[in-house]
């Protein structure tokens, strides 16, 4: 008789480990399956984890989790070729409990988080790929793994298998991603002595900086770069949609090297030592990419369900929250003894009622708008940086003339009406 669990969770990332943790805490016999050598060994993130949703699972997690610095200074830079328009917010309240965000290194963090699920009673198996869901009479009843005699059974299977979620595709829950809906990001972890990080970013040991980079960071393509401080170094990365990479014939590592060489970035990295280079996809299609997440005996969470808010840079927190909500629905289904699609539907309802789907819905037109109308990234962002440069330059031109020139920089050949249309379009998408 093959082994039967209450719950099998596929993937020990933030979504899967959150689901396993909550299931195990509620006394469910829970198996957590990870394909990597250890949780986190296949996972990549620039680094920003918003603390709220982890706090709900593990209050005061910062006292034990392997974290980098809490972010106290969040900046947005729009890069020109040799320039940068900089805005940001520095708030000391972010450096105090309960903290707003931490930068985390996923290989360390995910191991710790999965271990919390294990401590709660879940069984973790590493180095195991789930090749398919076992479906009987229209219901998922278990998973097939690449181990000998690797069939495992459960009342509910949680698909937390990340952005590529081959399993959700196999079940017909979602179609393959379109190249315009996923961002290909590459990054480097660069070691730098703590004191240098502190000096260069004007921070103390337990304070971090996050800089989101636009404009020339992506060579005017839909996407962004980032620079985050770790305890002893810097994570720097950049990504654009696979569609943009294909169309512009970009090499992602060339984008990264160009970013590292930018005059506003280079001095920050000076003397640093590259420690790792990583690539990963982010599902950025937003609301319209979220497809079927509940079926008979199965739920989908985290990146596998495309739960990413690319506008606010939220992903790992949404993953945890979705895992949390899914686990609650499973606990409820267990009480009722009904693991059918309708028995698990409270997950979809809870997801729709949560900030996750509400925020994704609010921004549902943004990815499409920015992808369809490249002028925002290609024209307006570089112009914005140039305009501010012009504004601050004293060169004998009168302020009135400067104003006129700046307005002309924006309206240019396209004319005022087209520009107002462009502004209205983006306003409508984000309002």
């Amino acid at each position: 008789m093959p082994e039967k669990f209450d719950v099998i969770v596929v993937g020990a990332g933030p979504a899967g480990s959150a689901a396993a943790l909550v299931c195990a805490r509620n006394g469910l016999n829970t198996l957590l399956i990870e394909r990597g050598e250890y949780p986190g060994s296949k996972n990549v993130m620039g680094g920003v984890l918003f603390s709220k949703d982890l706090r709900e699972l593990i209050p005061e997690f910062w006292k034990e989790a392997p974290l980098e610095r809490p972010v106290v200074d969040h900046r947005y830079w729009v890069l020109g070729e040799q320039s940068a328009l900089q805005i940001g917010y520095k708030g000391m309240e972010w450096g105090e409990e309960p903290y707003n965000t931490f930068v985390v290194q996923r290989a360390k963090f995910d191991q710790w988080f999965a271990q919390k699920a294990v401590e709660a009673g879940a069984l973790l198996i590493n180095k195991t790929v789930v090749t398919e869901c076992i479906v009987e009479k229209g219901k998922v009843v278990g998973v097939r793994t690449d181990r000998p005699d690797g069939d495992l059974y459960a009342d509910v299977v949680v698909l937390a298998d990340g952005v590529n979620s081959l399993l959700a595709q196999q079940l017909g829950f979602r179609k393959e991603h379109k190249p315009g809906d996923v961002a290909l990001c590459v990054m480097e972890c660069i070691n730098l002595p703590k004191e240098k990080v502190n000096d260069r970013f004007n921070i103390k040991d337990n304070q971090g900086v996050a800089i989101e980079l636009f404009g020339d960071a992506t060579k005017g393509n839909f996407g962004a770069g980032f620079l985050y401080t770790t305890n002893d170094g810097i994570n720097i990365g950049v990504g654009t949609t696979v569609a943009a990479m294909v169309k512009e014939k970009l090499k992602p590592y060339d984008l990264l090297d160009q970013l590292k060489a930018h005059p506003s970035i280079k001095p920050l990295l000076e003397g640093g030592e590259s420690a790792e280079y990583l690539a990963h996809l982010i599902p950025e299609g937003g609301y319209r990419s979220v497809q079927k997440v509940v079926g008979n005996g199965v739920v989908v969470v985290g990146d596998a369900a495309s739960l990413v808010n690319a506008i606010n840079g939220e992903g790992s927190n949404m993953a945890m929250h979705s895992g949390h909500l899914a686990a609650k629905a499973i606990v409820l289904a267990k009480k009722r003894g009904d693991f059918s699609e309708s028995g698990l539907s409270s997950y979809r309802e809870a997801l729709n009622d949560s900030f996750i789907m509400k925020d994704l819905e609010k921004y549902k037109d943004v990815p499409h708008t920015l992808e369809t109308y490249p002028q925002y990234f290609k024209e307006y962002m570089p112009t914005l940086t140039k305009a501010v440069g012009k504004f601050f330059t004293v060169d004998g031109t009168t302020q009135r003339e400067k104003q006129k020139e700046i307005i002309k920089m924006f309206t240019g050949k396209k004319g005022t009406f087209k520009m107002i249309t462009d502004i209205y379009r983006v306003f409508k998408a984000v309002k």
Partner: protein, 94 residues
């Protein structure tokens, strides 16, 4: 030293290579005749794909398992699977 070439970047990584490729070109003729730009050789972050003049060489050993090639291949000519459990790239940091 901050690395500059892709070879140097890839050298920072740890891989546990399987003997068998988890990436398969479905039809090599399609690469040769229907894909003038050989786009995967450009956007793949690990430069896994190399055009050898008449055939696409797949250096799966350096794959980050990101999935871009499966999604970005204009002719859907790449079969993409996960490496066997415990194999493939092993990220140590982020």
């Amino acid at each position: 030293m901050s690395v500059t070439t892709l070879e140097e970047k890839q050298y920072l990584l740890r891989f546990k290579c399987d003997k068998q490729s988890h990436l398969t070109i479905l039809n090599h003729d399609v690469c040769a005749t229907q894909c003038p730009d050989k786009l995967c050789t450009l956007f793949c972050p690990g430069e896994v794909y190399k055009w050898e003049g008449n055939r696409m060489q797949v250096g799966y050993e350096g794959c980050h398992e990101c999935g871009s090639c499966r999604i970005g291949c204009p002719t859907q000519n790449i079969k993409w699977e996960y490496p066997k459990g415990g194999h493939g790239v092993i990220f140590r940091l982020a």
